[in-house]
């Protein structure tokens, strides 16, 4: 309430990530934001913001973030520093995702901002045979056995949950995004959907969701003042994977499981983007998050339908 009236000092980690890149200009233009501080290894271009160089993966400099937070004293902290691109060295990804988040949370516990916002993904629920058809924010995060990428995200959420319990006076907002798509997005899912010919699992056609990058950025922006909590954010509706691939302008090629595994490992060895073996469950079981909570809390409905969001993938390709 009072916060809505005054100008906020907002800190953002990972300004160069997909979401950071989309969010920073919005925050810069937001009348509620008085000052913008960017914590990253490189200064984002063309944005009027204070830049603090912080490397979350640097060994022996764990306290850098804490010092930066303490000096800047941001009132709202967005933690978006996650590996958006494919990192072949899993240890580095792990350093950034898990250790980096730990450092940020530690710093936040010391600097005590009013609010901490973190971006997560609905994939943390896991695509599981035993799951209900629609997953709410209260459901357990099962992750994906065998996938370090997903399980690191789950680990971050656990840290966040622990942080929330330990710091009840700091408002926390977690936005779990459906797979992020859009003309400028570059994440494992968009790269996969842009490969043209996509092997899928024959006999299965799970339901997927997606969210347009602009809608995701808007949701993040609105998290500036929304009620604290965890929210699933996805475009309206669901699509079978086959339809999603078609809408994205690629062609799905259903292959029997054993053949698919062979093809996938062959593609991997050639360096083509595909779905790793560990993530095959996402091609087998539906993963649909309940999005009824977010609109009321964030005060907005995604503007892009799922089909529009996926079609936007082709804009970039064209």
């Amino acid at each position: 309430m009072s916060r809505a009236a005054r100008k906020l000092k907002v800190g953002v980690t990972g300004a160069n990530s997909d979401l950071g890149r989309l969010l920073i200009p919005r925050l810069a233009a937001d009348p509620r934001v008085g000052e913008l501080v960017v914590f990253d290894v490189a200064k984002p271009e063309g944005v009027k913001a204070t830049f603090r160089r912080v490397d979350l993966t640097k060994v022996g400099r764990d306290a850098d973030v804490s010092h930066a937070f303490e000096q800047e004293q941001p009132e709202v902290v967005y933690h978006l520093a996650f590996a958006g691109t494919r990192v072949h060295r899993a240890d580095i990804a792990h350093e950034l995702e898990v250790m980096g988040s730990m450092h940020v949370l530690t710093a936040a516990a010391r600097a005590k901002p009013e609010r901490l916002v973190v971006a997560s993904m609905t994939a943390v629920y896991g695509a599981r045979a035993q799951a209900p058809a629609v997953l709410t924010e209260d459901d357990a995060l099962h992750g994906c056995p065998g996938s370090r990428f997903i399980n690191d995200k789950v680990e971050v959420e656990r840290q966040f949950s622990a942080f929330r319990d330990a710091n009840p006076r700091i408002e926390t907002v977690v936005l779990r995004f459906a797979p992020l798509v859009g003309p400028t997005s570059d994440n494992p899912v968009t790269r996969w959907l842009r490969t043209g010919v996509i092997p899928t699992l024959m006999g299965y056609d799970p339901l997927w969701q997606a969210i347009h990058e602009n809608d995701a950025a808007e949701a993040l922006q609105r998290a500036l003042v929304c009620p604290a909590g965890v929210y699933n954010v996805a475009a309206d509706g669901v699509m079978p994977l086959s339809g999603l691939i078609r809408q994205a302008g690629s062609r799905g090629v259903p292959l029997p499981g054993p053949v698919l595994r062979t093809v996938v490992s062959a593609l991997e060895s050639v360096g083509r983007t595909s779905v790793p073996d560990a993530l095959l469950d996402y091609l087998r079981y539906s993963l649909v998050a309940d999005v009824s909570r977010a609109p009321a809390a964030l005060g907005f409905l995604p503007r892009y339908s799922m089909a529009e969001a996926l079609s936007s993938l082709q804009e970039a390709r064209a």
Partner: protein, 507 residues
């Protein structure tokens, strides 16, 4: 389909060469009209038409010289657009000559016929045969080919749609005599008109005309004008033609086949183009499967339903026995509710993991309304005011051998009773008889590598008579925590269903 091939080849080559001869034969044709009784009716209607048909093809593509004809063809051409749909069919359907009578019955076919007739009427009804010969004169090879061949070829197409394919051989012959016979049938002239636009244009080799006439068929025609498209397209073309012309049995069967093809495509993971709801149901796919459902429901299983009016408005739990080697009772009960109680929200049925996560089958049933059995799913469905169909026996119900038919297995842990108590919704017990006889489980074939617990050894679904009886709705009052009460109610519902089964089987 087989007929389709011969007409093409025969029609094309022979026509071109024989075309001139055909003209003389044509006159003979009028004499032969009695050939088919069915065809006769059409023929009579169309008798006037034949002249027009020759004129149309000629003027456009090839025959500029014929002054009167051009006028006719032009009007025909616009109409021809409609025929074009049929036109695509013509290439494959050489055998289908007989169907013309059917076309008359079929609404689409009729339209085409009437339109042709009107066109034909415009020009005085000269002898179709005569006109044909004229064309050849105008253009020796190409023109003659167009008019003459087109009639035989196209005729077969419509025939393909129709059950009677016997006439086809005549057109196939492609000999002038045969052609004459066709004309004689009267049906031939009509066909010719319809077919000619599509076919003639390709022959004529005027790309613009071809495009106009055959929007979808254009591709095959253009690719091989003389051969009337690739063989691969032949099937689909014939299929589509048949669908338009289809009538009586052909139409529902084809519709059912189309729906099944769509369903198979979706089930394999190629997807269907329709949107799905949160539960995965694809309304478009479901409605395309409706002809199949109607056929199974009305004709094959002859389902009789008793007491459907006892299903209360609003959310309720419908509890049924599970039987048969394939879980077809879920869809059929769902379908019965859909037909008997249109006032209710669309029901969904709950399916155990073994089926829901089975490849192909799982996707298929999900697209037509199955939901994975999970308490949260059931609650959410009931909150949407839907009747929820459950089979408490679960997988045990459909995996019992035929020797144990209609012997109820354990009713799970009474989850549906707890759910009814928690959500305060009534329970409607239902007995389904017929699934066991339709799909007896004779043996189980291990199928671990396929991701299935087993493959059922069973005959193809047999046309046993199905009966579905709904019992009175039971409203429970108690605590879902009181497990002993849950047990009692579970037993009561089970006994109710067992009693209904016994009485249904005793009849």
């Amino acid at each position: 389909m087989s007929d389709g091939k011969p007409p093409r080849v025969l029609g094309n080559d022979p026509f071109k060469r024989v075309a001139p001869k055909a003209a003389p034969a044509a006159p003979a044709a009028p004499e032969k009209p009695p050939a088919d009784q069915l065809a006769e009716a059409l023929a009579e209607k169309i008798a006037n038409e034949p002249p027009a048909s020759p004129g149309r093809p000629i003027p456009r593509p090839v025959m500029t010289p014929v002054p009167p004809k051009p006028a006719l063809p032009k009007p025909l051409l616009p109409k021809a657009v409609q025929p074009k749909r049929e036109a695509p069919k013509p290439p494959p359907p050489p055998k289908i000559v007989v169907p013309k009578p059917k076309t008359g019955d079929g609404t689409p076919a009729r339209r085409a016929v009437t339109s042709f007739a009107s066109f034909a009427a415009d020009p005085p009804p000269p002898q179709p045969k005569v006109t044909v010969p004229e064309r050849p004169s105008g253009r020796p090879s190409a023109q003659t080919l167009q008019p003459v061949p087109s009639p035989p070829v196209f005729e077969p197409v419509p025939h393909a749609a129709s059950p009677e394919a016997r006439h086809a051989p005549q057109p196939h012959d492609g000999s002038p005599e045969l052609k004459a016979e066709f004309t004689a049938h009267d049906t031939s002239p009509v066909v010719v008109e319809l077919l000619e636009p599509g076919r003639a244009t390709p022959h004529a080799g005027s790309p613009a005309v071809v495009r106009e006439l055959n929007d979808h068929e254009a591709v095959p025609h253009e690719g091989s004008p003389e051969v009337v498209g690739g063989r691969v397209t032949e099937l689909s073309v014939a299929f589509e033609a048949a669908r338009e012309v289809g009538e009586g049995l052909a139409r529902p069967l084809l519709a059912a086949a189309t729906g099944m093809a769509r369903a198979a495509k979706a089930a394999l993971g190629f997807g269907s183009n329709g949107p799905v709801d949160t539960w995965g149901k694809d309304a478009a796919l479901s409605s395309s499967l409706q002809p199949l459902g109607d056929f199974l429901y009305d004709t094959y299983f002859r389902v009789t339903v008793e007491g459907a009016d006892q299903v209360p408005q609003g959310p309720c739990i419908i509890v049924a026995n599970h039987s048969g080697a394939l879980p077809l009772d879920g869809p059929m009960l769902h379908y019965a509710l859909q037909r008997e109680r249109r006032d209710l929200e669309s029901a969904r049925w709950l399916v155990e993991d073994q089926v829901f996560h089975a490849p192909v089958l799982g996707v298929l049933i999900n697209r037509i309304g199955a939901v994975r059995a999970h308490p949260e799913n059931a609650v959410r469905l009931l909150e949407e005011n839907r009747p929820v169909i459950v089979f408490p026996e679960g997988f045990l119900g459909i995996s019992k051998p035929f020797t144990q038919k209609y012997q109820l297995k354990r009713f799970g842990r009474g989850g549906y009773v707890k759910l009814a108590l928690k959500m305060r919704v009534p329970i409607v017990p239902v007995a389904i008889v017929g699934a066991e006889e339709s799909m007896p489980l004779l043996a189980k074939i291990p199928a671990g590598p396929l991701g299935l617990p087993y493959l059922p050894l069973m005959p193809p679904p047999l046309p046993a008579r199905w009966r579905i009886r709904f019992s009175e709705a039971v409203t429970l009052s108690g605590s879902p925590e009181d497990l002993a009460y849950v047990q009692e109610q579970n037993d009561l519902v089970r006994d109710t269903i067992a009693g209904m089964l016994a009485s249904l089987l005793a009849r």
